[in-house]
Symmetry: C2
Subunit: 461 residues, 2 copies
């Protein structure tokens, strides 16, 4: 907002809509100008806190009239700068829109406002015999998870946000409110707008409500952990498990560096070796059979120390170690930031991709454990970064470039679940070529003034 | 093509591209002007038979230059007029593009040309330890199945084309060739163009290649059939089964009229009552456990005659009866056409919706069995229609209108798997309201001259 008068005019209009839920407080603006990535923040000019879809629509209409950029914001757990404001503008914080609107146990669906977080929904559903499976680790909002097409540890069984959002309410760039999808389990009624908005990172409109698939709570859950002499043996175990159709719910890989970090951080004594963490869902006997089958596949591949955690306490301890992987990384170098990269390759290339990447990390003289949602071929190199060291940042950048190039050359993608944001716009072009022009054409048709989260996904905006 | 000279010019250009794979033969044109719906055909002016994506691109460029409509065609098994040519133009028959290009067993994916049919792919994969699950009944092409977002009997476990297409090659309205998605199991790289083209019925571009998810062949499959005193008991059995997370692979409902037809047609003696056909996939013991669990749920709801078919011969006999349901309907009135309607509702409303519809059918004095993919809440009223009887057509139309209205009022959709085509354009507006404007904006941006399958999905084109 270069012109001061326009800024005053906009503040006036926003205040007329939202009263005191409009702020230019510098701390609040700065807090909204960065996410959990390592980049320096870029703050919006104004932050607003709407309570309803209609208020979001009124805010968008006001911003559109004055051609001011709009950035939707949940809780700021994105990793590629999705919430940053490189062109200033109005940050639309949806965290007050945190109501669970409807739960339909029989139909296994629910409708929530976009600001409901994953844990909040989990808590809400706890006594209702149902659960929502997508778990990206962070306690992100469901609106934000949809916007970045998030997934996480149990996508191998339950899919990502792509498979688990049935419908959306979206405020478009001109303030119109549309509903996409619906409560039917499947539909062939016209274009799949739901999946166009899922993953669009706020560049096509602002998601204000979501209808989500739920799943019945399971009779039994059990977990297991197993270590391997070489990484390819762990990956081959996963490939065979999935080919056999064993419906494993989680299957996570931690490399030896990550296991060392986990041991140090959590005071554990796991072997410092490539390790699989697994979880099985189903009836008691199905879970037992699955664990047994995977155990024997693992044994054939030289897996050892297969530990099975049937009761909740053991299971929680095991997954706590997995979930603490990020903190364990950070503890390796106190005061440093984490930069989790994010590629995904066809699983037949995964061992090769990780092995080459491990060599590359070692040669780059960086501290960077590897952790992966291995059932999907998705893995993260968690670079522990001294952001004051420009040389180190440069080496990290180069490592990331080579990693993405490697993944693309193997038929993979530059991002499995973190999205494009500011960080991967060139890589998107590298990966999708002319298809990015098609994306840009759609963006232009729905947001001709380029006001919806400008600068994200596309290079030229 | 009103202007004769232009038609000659176009034929010349097409012949230069395809040689003798261009025809104006009236029989071939007529054959390409209708699908398996009951509507009178509308023939294209020219039919072409490209062999490659590049040839499709050249054909599209030629048609675009002369502003001639293009209609993609697989094998013509659509049901809502998707392949008809209300504005004439060039039918692009993709049936010669029937090569399986790549199968990756380890990654559980394959890439095929759009003209490969479902059964052809099934045959091709038979000895490779993998299978593609989506089965709409008809031996449709995979390109056509993607274009209409088809599904069928085992969507309840494996999803629809929406969940099972990983990537596409598409020829756009101006002849550009783009690739969407890829072989990674998941990706957050930009807009989900794959799912924009899946279900777009050829109105945004022509699908020429598809990368599909595959699944490992299962150790054991077993089937079961069970009849119920009242329909709601069958539906409640399904609801409980799904809530318990029992991964049933197929769960089909046939109403008493359909069962009577099946008995007559196939010389069987099933009880004339609402009946569930089920299938279980997994390990031997998992399948046994699933069947037992569902059997006891069914028993609690008064299900009787629970027959379990473990060996392949029994199983095939059972599913043959289900698959012959359509022919059984047709045999009820020799010489008549079938009009299968297609709605989908939240499963909690399914029994109510089917019961009201059954009453409506009886009052309309129509012959119309009901068969449903009940795990998804999707069902078809198969109206057996004397197309020479205008009064009967009118009654059938009115029945369909009321059925759709009923489904929408229950939070459902006007089509679960057949698509919009020519037949449901008004219903699409009724269902999705302003969101249809968003679809039209996208259509306009990618096909500004409205040449890609014009008249389908949208009213005003």
């Amino acid at each position: 907002m270069a012109v001061h008068n326009e800024s005053i005019a906009l503040q006036g209009r926003l205040t007329a809509i939202l009263g005191d839920r409009v702020t230019t407080n510098v701390n609040i603006r700065d807090q909204h100008g960065h996410d959990e990535g390592y980049r320096l923040g870029q703050s919006p000019d104004i932050v607003v806190f709407p309570d309803t879809t209609n208020e979001v629509s009124a805010v968008v209409t006001a911003c559109a009239d004055l051609a001011v950029p709009m950035i939707p914001y949940g809780v700021g757990t994105s990793l590629e700068g999705q919430v940053m404001a490189p062109n200033g503008g109005v940050c639309i914080d949806l965290s007050r829109m945190n109501e669970v609107l409807q739960v339909n146990q029989k139909d296994l669906d629910c409708t929530v406002q976009a600001g409901v977080t994953r844990r909040q929904l989990d808590q809400y559903l706890r006594d209702q015999g149902v659960f929502f499976p997508v778990d990206p680790g962070a306690d992100a909002t469901l609106g934000g998870m949809a916007a970045t097409r998030a997934s996480g540890t149990n996508a191998v069984r339950y899919g990502t946000m792509r498979e688990n959002v049935l419908g959306l309410t979206v405020v478009l760039a001109d303030g119109r409110v549309v509903k996409t999808g619906g409560r039917a389990r499947k539909s062939s009624a016209g274009y799949d707008l739901t999946n166009l908005f899922v993953g669009s990172e706020g560049t096509l409109g602002i998601i204000t409500e979501l209808t989500l698939r739920l799943y019945g709570r399971l009779e039994a859950i059990s977990s297991a952990v197993c270590s391997f002499g070489v990484l390819s043996a762990a990956v081959d175990t996963v490939i065979e498990t999935i080919q056999l159709g064993i419906p494993v719910a989680r299957i996570e890989l931690l490399d030896e560096v990550q296991m060392d970090a986990v041991n140090r951080y959590s005071g554990l004594r796991y072997p410092v070796a490539p390790t699989l963490f697994l979880e099985f869902h189903g009836t008691r006997s199905a879970v037992a059979e699955q664990a047994e089958l995977v155990g024997s596949i693992a044994a054939e591949h030289g897996g050892s120390n297969f530990q099975w955690a049937r009761d909740e306490q053991d299971r929680n301890a095991l997954w706590r170690a997995r979930h603490d992987a990020a903190y364990a990384c950070k503890a390796l170098r106190p005061g440093c930031e984490m930069w989790p990269t994010d590629v995904c390759v066809p699983i037949s290339r995964l061992a090769e991709c990780i092995n080459q990447t491990r060599k590359d990390i070692d040669q780059s003289d960086l501290v960077a454990p590897i952790v992966g949602h291995v059932g999907d071929g998705n893995f993260h190199v968690v670079i522990v970064l001294d952001t004051d060291d420009r040389d180190e940042i440069q080496r990290a950048n180069e490592l990331n470039e080579r990693l993405i190039e490697r993944a693309l050359s193997m038929g993979g993608t530059c991002t499995g679940e973190h999205g494009i944001g500011l960080g991967k716009r060139e890589h998107l072009v590298h990966e999708h070529g002319d298809a990015v022009d098609v994306m840009a054409t759609i963006k232009q048709s729905l947001d001709p003034k380029n006001l919806m989260n400008p600068g994200k996904i596309f290079m030229d905006s």
